[in-house]
Amino acid sequence: MDCAVCHNPMITLELDDVETDYCLSCRGIWLDEGELEQLLGDTQRALDLLGSFTAADNCTEELRRCPICGKKMEKVFVGPPAGQVLIDRCKKAHGLWFDRGELEAVLHLGRFDSEGKIPKLLGQFFKNPETKGNPAPS
């Protein structure tokens, strides 16, 4: 699967039964359909967050293509109106695309920091987001 932004091949990361697709060059994250639900668990807060998706119709940000079906994705807002995060969603429900830092922001919205699984996998990605010397794929 290729990155939706820079089109480099993405690698898949697995930790504690959670799988995500990750682009090493732009640090974007792709979650297949259902993986965000799996990440968040089925607490009330998670359900509230998942229910807060609203289409961003007059958005000027460049449209990305779904890495699975290649069709253009739509922009959606996540979270309460005060601190919305803009992410990309495949119209055919193949999954969600998070630019660098966006997944962290979404998780921050739901205050999931204390719930073990997510900080373990993702929290620690972001602990050193500016890692140097990563062999940049040419």
Partner: protein, 409 residues
């Protein structure tokens, strides 16, 4: 057993002859309809030529055509050791002269098929979805079913008939479309030669009817025979594994998933262990490629006395209330006792199954797997441009060993 194989071989020949006859008469009628009786003979010649070419190609390369059109990939034992182990086991149990080539199809729907020319040149293909869902006993049941198809010489029949059927459908389609377009361009044929215009019109009518009927007729023949073969392969599988419950619960799992196979089509459908197209619940009729899966499961579960062919026959008769279909001589087999279940009863969650299936597909597609000491597992695609990779979690730098897992295709 030998009598059964002989009957199968004879049926294969009969079917091929029948198909040849259909093809030839179709050629004659189409030729005659277009240019009179003399052209009819040329039509036969052309049709026979096509038949011969198709038969030779399908005899020598049919398995490759079918495997390629199902997008099956040949794999080495390190991709799925258990699968190889089971195929080896069933090869010995069935007395095959050579280990069948093993293919995996990248499809989440659980299914399997066997193809090839003879037991020396056979292939078994299973989908990734099947491998992810079944435990060892169930997988053994499915492989035994496929190996039985190989032993019964069903594989050549299905391969030949599949290619043959494709040809008949192709010619009829060509003709029907040709008719459609030529009828748009006016009544040229009948006005040019008014003397035998009436005869030609009749021939034309017959040709149209035949062009419509031939594919239906061919499908019916093909499917009716392939249903009986499924029962026979089930009976053979039970005899090989001595464990009817394995295949029964495998069929149950296969029936329980409502995913259509993306890599199957109408012609390859009868090859699979279960009909690859579900979704709509079709009534069982002459047109269905497979016996109702529930009935196959009931027959298997009804076998309590033993696992010999005669036991299957008995169960078949009591469940379907029809006369049995296994040839007499095969029934005088030694008695076979049903064995106990094996220990492998892993209850796995659906998300884990999904992940295992994903990993299997990645292995088939040549991904490398890296386990970082920090606990993260990285799965790297074969087109990853760099030879080194830094763990996004702990910043350790790893070397990507691209030659580690390779498929043989």
């Amino acid at each position: 057993m030998w009598q059964q194989i002989r009957i199968n071989k004879r049926n294969s020949l009969l079917l091929l002859m029948g198909m040849g006859t259909v093809l030839a008469s179709l050629g004659f009628l189409i030729g005659a309809a277009i240019g009179g009786v003399e052209a009819g003979w040329i039509g036969i010649l052309v049709a026979s030529g096509i038949w011969l070419i198709m038969m030779l190609t399908s005899y020598f390369g049919g398995d490759q055509i079918l495997l390629a059109s199902s997008r099956a990939v040949a794999v080495t034992p390190d991709v799925h050791p258990q699968l190889f182990n089971i195929v080896e086991e069933m090869k010995i149990a069935a007395g095959l002269p050579k280990l069948p080539k093993i293919y995996i199809i990248n499809d989440p729907a659980p299914n399997a098929f066997a193809t090839g020319r003879n037991p020396e040149n056979a292939s078994v293909a299973v989908t990734a979805g099947l491998l992810a869902r079944l435990n060892r006993d169930e997988l053994q049941g499915v492989i035994a079913h496929e190996v039985s198809h190989i032993v019964h010489r069903d594989i050549l029949f299905v391969t030949l008939a599949g290619v043959m059927l494709g040809t008949i459908v192709l010619i009829s389609q060509l003709f029907l479309r040709g008719m459609f377009y030529s009828s748009l361009s006016g009544r040229r044929y009948s006005s040019r030669n008014s003397r035998d215009g009436g005869a030609q019109a009749i021939l034309m009518l017959v040709a149209i009817v035949l062009a419509i009927l031939a594919p239906i007729f061919a499908y019916l023949l093909y499917f009716a025979l392939s249903r009986r073969r499924e029962y026979l392969a089930d009976a053979g599988a039970v005899r090989l594994t001595r464990y009817p419950e394995g295949l029964a619960s495998a069929l149950e799992k296969i029936a329980g998933t409502n995913i259509n196979m993306e890599s199957a089509n109408k012609v390859t459908a009868p090859m699979y262990i279960a009909n690859p197209f579900r979704g709509k619940k079709a009534a069982v009729n002459l047109y269905s490629t497979h016996p109702p899966i529930e009935e196959r499961i009931r027959i298997l579960r009804n076998m309590s006395h033993g696992a010999a062919l005669a036991d299957y026959e008995q169960s078949y008769e009591s469940v379907t209330r029809k006369k049995g279909m296994i040839p007499g001589s095969a029934l005088n087999d030694e008695s076979v006792e049903i064995r106990a279940a094996s220990a492998d009863k892993r209850p796995v969650s659906e998300s884990r199954q999904k992940r295992e299936m994903g990993d299997l597909m990645r292995k088939v597609n040549g991904f490398s797997f890296l386990a970082c000491p920090c606990g993260i597992k990285m799965k790297i695609p074969p087109n990853f441009p760099s030879g080194q990779i830094q763990c996004p979690r702990c910043s350790r730098v790893h070397t990507v060993d691209k030659g580690k897992i390779k498929t043989s295709a």
